[in-house]
Symmetry: C2
Subunit: 419 residues, 2 copies
């Protein structure tokens, strides 16, 4: 499959991907919905008005002339599938409808550099899981010792907690170093000040499309039908604030100052060729968490750091989504098993994705082993935690035969704490 739009082999956005996003033209205009194709964004509100998305279930509703994907998400899998088919057809090199219509091309195709990307959805609830066994083991070992690294519940259920929706921000948003209460080990009393242990967490998130009624759990066999698509997530974390606040009710202010996501939502369907088995689960989970089909995906993930005195960024993490112990399907099914209702636009994230080797650890906490092994940067600097001016960029992709299904990137820079 090839588009009449020139897409370089290293591009994240070939015709096989077509991730959804919300954008606003830089020269003005309302937010609306588009898909990324090569260096362009295809404006779906224009296609819809031109009558090219008929017979998909979205016709005449202005569903793409909206500041969020929520209404489209709520239409469910069959509609998403039809829209995707039509878009792949319209963008195909052999199809003249868009290719040979200069007016339509001018109206519907914009350079990505000419648009501002916004949060793709209005997030009702954000849930963060803790689904990487390597991450949970690393953190547990550091805080409780090797023998007690994993809590007894960890291998039986995907541990998760409610996060903060209001402070989910789009890639490119700067983040001021948070201030808060913490208790250094050498102090008797807690102190107040800027966090000294600011960290990242490399995660992937997925947006819920169709939700469920309260009290009606989603069986695991249907769970993936509720996934609209995936994004990259940087779950910024203030470890010193977290260590002092988190018992017994979990992380709170140490996370809720900002959570950054990438702007393009990659449809689950685009990931199908990259479906793989996840890790073997031993002990086997309870029946409501059992699924026969492979439920993980081979997604390469990388993190780059660029300090304010560095001329270029340096890769600090290289890992893979498929290391995650608990699948998205298991996380969704577990989330609803006691009756919790999910809604279109809900964001769920995996928790830090770490792999078996050191460079595959998805946080500075683990990479530097809580400061015991500082990280060397190419310009002679070291890092244990983030410094003011540091810019973090996360990226990810599936490598196909001559093409990539990419997630673009999520980036953010640390600014000094506000007075």
């Amino acid at each position: 499959m090839k588009s009449f739009i020139n897409v370089k082999p290293e591009s994240h956005f070939p015709i096989q991907n077509l991730p959804y996003g919300v954008f606003r033209p830089r020269h003005g205009g309302k937010p609306r919905i588009g898909v990324a194709i090569g260096e362009y964004v295809l404006d779906l509100s224009v296609l819809e008005k031109a009558g090219l998305l008929k017979e998909t279930g979205v016709e005449d509703r202005g569903i793409f002339d909206q500041p969020s994907l929520n209404p489209f998400m709520a239409l469910g899998k069959n509609v998403w599938k039809k829209v995707r088919e039509i878009l792949q057809h319209l963008l195909n090199e052999d199809e003249p409808a868009l290719r040979d219509d200069p007016w339509l091309r001018r109206a519907a195709l914009r350079k990505q550099s000419d648009v501002e990307l916004l949060l793709p959805a209005q997030i009702g609830d954000y849930t963060d899981f803790y689904a990487s066994k390597e991450h949970a083991t690393n953190v547990g070992t550091m805080f409780r010792g090797k023998e007690n690294a994993l809590m007894p519940n960890w291998t039986h259920l995907p541990v998760g907690y409610h996060g903060r929706s209001s402070s989910v921000v789009i890639s490119g948003t700067d983040v001021h170093r948070p201030k808060g209460q913490m208790k250094p080990l050498d102090k008797d009393q807690p102190i107040f000040g800027p966090s000294q242990q600011l960290d990242i967490e490399l995660e992937m998130g997925w947006f819920i499309g169709l939700g469920n009624e309260r009290g009606q759990p989603i069986p695991i066999k249907n769970a993936e039908e509720h996934i609209f698509g995936l994004v990259l997530v940087n779950d910024w974390s203030a470890r010193d604030i977290q260590a002092w606040e988190y018992q017994p009710l979990g992380p709170f202010l140490s996370k809720s100052f900002a959570t950054s996501i990438s702007p393009w939502v990659v449809p689950l369907e685009a990931l199908e060729p990259f479906r793989v088995e996840g890790p073997k689960q031993e002990p086997p989970p309870l029946p409501y968490l059992q699924k026969d089909e492979a439920s993980s995906f081979d997604i390469e993930l990388e993190v780059y750091l660029k300090g304010k005195d560095m001329g270029h960024s340096q890769k600090i993490i290289s890992t893979n989504f498929s290391y995650l112990y608990w699948s998205m399907a298991q996380q969704i099914s577990h989330h609803t098993v006691a009756g919790c209702n999910l809604r279109p636009g809900d964001l769920q994230a995996s928790g830090t994705i770490s792999g078996p080797q050191k460079e595959k650890r998805g946080s500075l906490l683990e990479l530097t082993w809580r400061g015991a092994e500082p990280m060397n940067l190419y310009n002679g600097e070291q890092r244990v935690w983030l410094e003011d001016g540091d810019e973090i960029t996360m990226t990810g992709w599936c490598q196909g035969d001559g093409y990539k299904i990419g997630f673009g990137e999520v980036t953010g820079r640390i600014l000094p704490a506000l007075e």
Copy 2:
């Protein structure tokens, strides 16, 4: 101050109260906003259309012809104050504008029994605190022993966690017994099934009116300006699911199956005559949590249980809001100190409100001391946890001189677990 509408002394809704709610006429019609007065609801969308709310800051915006209070909440304290003044003026026994206009009275005043009350706001984020020292001490003693009852952080900051917005429901909503994973003490492996330890938590909640920008904390001296009003909260809790899931990231499915709130939002201004000092805080909190003025309120709180074989309900809890150790102002200020942004319509709740004596404990867990002291009901039954068919009703009020500022009630009934 007295209204031309007859309000009985025991009513929760005299002219001094005027709580806001969202209602829909039972015979049909759109949701809109009203205030409770005696046995009536005054339809503010009618007053607004009639031009009676001019010069308040809401004129011509249709702000009360809405299915949620969020747009009104976002207008801030000065507008709330003006609207309240006008409503108290219009309802005053000496004021003829509404009193002597039969058409307007018929259009604007409905019996509460003729309307359905809906969720008062679209809740962006819901936060649950843990602000009662007696509650935290009771729970800690049961789970960790008397010596380690309070975590070291508890007296230094108001511990809180993110709750689930999607499953906040209005009073009167039935709740199916949740199913989930739990690990009974006598079992080696976790099991799956209906919760056997279903509990209530008596809490009060407050809706955030005006929010703050991300990164811009709310100083404690301004914190109360962000409170639109208060409601009763029943934070249904499945203790067996909670005990197994909550480490290390906090409660999740044990709470997110349902949280019930009362429909009438009592303005903070109506509570001013009942402002009292909270408990002395020792050690003194860090400066960002210090406030000189009294910041608690004398609100009587009661909980009633009615089993399916009981002819009438029985009072099981009688406590007071003013036992709370951490004030609402402290909870709001703490919530934002690291940069978290609050939005109009956010719901925050206190956590279980327990007092120093046994009958003042705000949960069955504490009342029955985890089953060691079962509760006797008047018909010979006992309770440790909730049984199917049990109906729980929470109520609360401030006792004025010849009037009550009441919260109405939040009620909910337990239905059997779904197959």
